[in-house]
């Protein structure tokens, strides 16, 4: 039996549903309680949609900030392009349209909490099974993650480009 506590923001509805199953006590859920619940595989419907990690509530999305997106691009090249192209599969999936396929909160949680997303989130587990690999921890901070998010949002609607034009792509040198 686990304890849940009433929360504000978007979790209210989800927790109300959970409360029917697990019972309820007052006060906000502590981090330890949340971790224990995740370990037991009891994810709220919000968490099923938006992932588990430091982002636990809806994020208010401003329009894409060009400066953040530019910083995010550099970060993508340094930290993500080892394993992701925008338009082709690499170690992990292509990412151009990720922000249209997944919520901003999910993307942030995946970047910031890849290990638990791969182990404890059902969609994350599916990805690990498909790519035979956990996403690597790259030590990305919250601010950097929102830069990356804006970069990915800025790319989402653009048409695909050849491999050598994709950011950070390592293109093998021609034989000589």
């Amino acid at each position: 039996m686990i304890a849940c506590r009433t929360r504000t923001i978007a979790l209210l509805a989800a927790l109300a549903a959970l409360a029917l199953v697990v019972g309820c006590s007052s006060g906000p859920e502590t981090e330890a309680e949340r971790q224990a619940r995740w370990q037991q595989g009891q994810l709220t419907s919000w968490e099923l949609e938006h992932g588990i990690g430091p982002i636990t509530a809806d994020v208010a999305l401003a329009p894409v900030d060009a400066a953040k997106a530019a910083r995010g691009r550099e970060l993508f090249i340094a930290k993500c392009a080892t394993c992701h192209y925008l338009d082709d599969r690499k170690t992990g999936p292509a990412l151009r349209d990720i922000t249209t396929r997944r919520s901003a909160e999910y993307v942030l949680n995946q970047i910031l909490n890849p290990e638990q997303m791969g182990k404890l989130h059902p969609d994350g587990r599916k990805m690990v099974a498909q790519y035979a690999q956990y996403m690597t921890i790259q030590g990305i901070t919250n601010d950097n993650a929102t830069d990356l998010l804006d970069f990915l949002r800025s790319e989402a609607d653009k048409p695909p480009v050849p491999l050598e034009q994709q950011p950070g792509a390592h293109v093998p040198p021609p034989a000589n």
């Binding site: 930290k79 392009a81 080892t82 394993c83 170690t91 690999q133 690597t136 040198p173």
Partner: protein
């Protein structure tokens, strides 16, 4: 239940179930202590958890280590440079933990290279060798590396005296031409960097072991000597004639002052100082002179205390008052008194001198003798509760005795031939106690046989009660001459998990995969390569020609704990690499024939590790 005839049956293990529970560290939980054991002739350091005896790490120090390319990679080769050239092995004896206020502080571990005289400093944030300094005017760097209480200096005495400066002389002119030195290596209190501050020229005896004073005796250091007969042949007979050898008492604070006053002479020398720079690349510098003090010109700096007989240990108790000599061939354990020594010096209670060094009267300095301790007293450590524990090599036992009354209160057999022993913090001002560990030379029937060579071992005894209780024995690497241990909490929280890639200043690092490339400069080809689970970039390399020199600069772009990648090239004539997260390491390779050469990751990093591979095409 305690009584009963089934108890204490096997080799003095009182209640085997009880002993097992005392050393049981459940899966996923941590040991209470780190123990650092010398690898002896392996040249390395073994890191064990106590009380479990689990081997945690094998840190390469004085010997090349193919496992991770230490001493083979371009970044680490220079650590092995000496005035004799590249010396990729040594015999490492005495680990010493850095101290603050006389207590281990968990920052660095020092250990001596005995054969080609060197001292290494390990950084306990990374558990790797960060620096090695060579000692000139030395032969057999055995009385080394012993620390002063605030890690002001590392002390190092020569086991073998040699002509200083080296010269071609008949060996039987030993008495006239051979000298010893006591070296004082200054330690930078922030970085730990070593520099040879000065040496003291001493008579040509064998200087065996050392410890610094503490508390009231802070500012002094003590070195045991043997072969005061100054024999140069058949030492087993000729160096055992004198009834007493000496303990050298050195006032290092005064020596420091003499150096500051300009009493030291700058003597030409040539020795190497090797260290990892900020880019984690080993640099090697040649130093061309050293300051030397001559005791004849430095009154009050050094005295000899007669000590029976061929002493090994020179061990100072936690209060700093008692100096215990381990007289290997003596029938007693002699204990000197620091306060009596000062009085004897003041009253000039001398019994002659050697080369300007006054010899104090034995009885004037003696605090007491432990009578009938056993055979072959070697080395003593302390529990901080008023007791001393001495290893007895010949009678193969540990003897516990009381400071002040000198009475033996307990003895426990060791299996077999105990050399040094160790109590966590047992040579410090404030021992952590709980256990004593016997470091044994011979194991014979203790383990499953493994051919003619058997492992050496350590044995763990509980010392929390009146009687020592044997709890465990476990195999060790090489020969564990000496060991040191400290509470895990002093080390584990400072442990580096990975190297931030943004701070990697290696000139051939790459910071992102799209920087991976191959660059040619004449016959030199540099491959800038990255690793991440689960591929190399580049993984197909063409354009290499027979006769090229290829440098693979491999940067591991991982930023997660415990994710090194390996790099191995078929037919490479040196080792493979193991590259830590965020680090760059370089393998040099000379392709010998046209063809296509595979390379791969040697560290099972992920499910697709077997896919982590590539090819190099070599053309004529």
């Amino acid at each position: 239940m305690t009584g009963g005839c089934g108890n204490g049956s096997k080799d003095g293990v009182a209640g085997t179930g009880d002993a097992a529970s005392k050393v049981y560290v459940a899966p996923g939980t941590h040991d209470e202590f780190y123990a650092f054991m010398s690898g002896g002739f392996s040249g390395q350091v073994g890191v064990y958890g106590l009380p479990s005896g689990r081997l945690l790490r094998h840190v390469p120090v004085f010997s090349q280590n193919a496992e991770n390319g230490y001493g083979y990679s371009e970044e680490t080769k220079n650590l092995f440079m000496t005035s004799f050239g590249f010396v990729p092995w040594d015999d490492a004896h005495h680990p010493q933990l850095s101290q603050t206020d006389g207590v281990p502080d968990g920052r660095w571990l020092f250990i001596n290279g005995n054969n080609t005289p060197r001292v290494a400093r390990l950084d306990l944030a990374t558990f790797e060798t960060a620096e090695i300094i060579e000692l000139p005017h030395s032969g057999g760097n055995h009385a080394s590396p012993f620390l002063t209480p605030n890690t002001e200096y590392v002390l190092a005495g020569t086991r073998f005296s040699v002509p200083i400066p080296q010269q071609d002389v008949p060996i039987n002119t030993y008495k006239d031409n051979f000298k010893g030195t006591l070296s004082f290596i200054k330690i930078d209190s922030t970085s730990g960097a070593m520099s040879l501050a000065f040496q003291i020229l001493v008579p040509g005896f064998n200087y065996d072991l050392s410890h610094s004073g503490k508390g009231p005796s802070h500012g002094w250091a003590f070195f045991s000597t043997y072969n005061t007969e100054q024999a140069s042949t058949l030492l087993e007979v000729n160096a055992s004639r004198n009834d007493k050898d000496y303990m050298a008492a050195v006032n290092w604070k005064l020596a420091e002052r003499y150096v500051a006053e300009g009493k030291a002479k700058d003597i030409p020398a040539s020795y190497r100082h090797n260290y990892l720079d900020d880019a984690r690349i080993a640099q090697s510098e040649i130093v061309k002179s050293v300051k030397i003090l001559d005791p004849r010109e430095c009154p009050g700096m050094i005295y000899y205390i007669p000590t029976p007989k061929s002493p090994h240990g020179a061990d100072v108790d936690p209060t700093g008052e008692y100096i215990v000599g381990g007289g290997k061939l003596a029938t007693v354990i002699p204990v000197h008194s620091f306060s009596k020594m000062l009085k004897a010096i003041e009253n000039k209670e001398f019994d002659g001198e050697v080369d300007g060094i006054p010899i104090l009267k034995y009885e004037s300095v003696l605090a007491g003798e432990v009578q009938n301790p056993g055979l072959g007293p070697l080395h003593t450590e302390f529990d901080g509760k008023g007791y001393a524990y001495t290893s007895m090599f010949i009678s193969s036992e540990i003897v516990k005795w009381k400071l002040g009354t000198w009475e033996v209160v307990d003895r426990a057999p060791a299996y077999y031939s105990i050399g040094h022993l160790m109590i966590p913090g047992g040579d410090s001002r404030s021992p952590f106690g709980k256990y004593v560990i016997a470091l044994n030379k011979i194991t014979k029937d203790r383990y499953l046989p493994t051919g003619p060579e058997l492992t050496h071992s350590a044995q763990l005894y509980d010392i929390t009660g009146d009687k020592m209780k044997l709890l465990l024995d476990f195999p060790t690497i090489g020969e564990p001459h000496y060991a040191q241990a400290l509470p895990a909490s002093l080390v584990k929280d400072r442990s580096v998990k990975y190297f931030p890639i943004a701070e990697n200043t290696h000139p051939h690092a790459i910071k992102a995969e799209n920087e991976a490339r191959v660059e040619r400069d004449g016959r030199l080809v540099r491959v800038y390569m990255s690793t991440i689970r689960t591929h190399f970039a580049p993984d197909n390399i063409e354009g290499i020609r027979v006769g090229d020199s290829v440098l693979f600069h491999v940067t591991n772009l991982e930023q997660d704990w415990d994710v090194p990648h390996g790099f191995a090239v078929m037919g490479a004539n040196n080792a493979e690499l193991l590259v830590m997260p965020g680090e760059t390491r370089t393998l040099a390779w000379k392709p010998q024939a046209a063809g296509v050469i595979p390379f791969y990751c040697t560290d099972f990093c992920s499910a697709l590790h077997q896919e982590m591979q590539g090819y190099i095409r070599v053309s004529r």
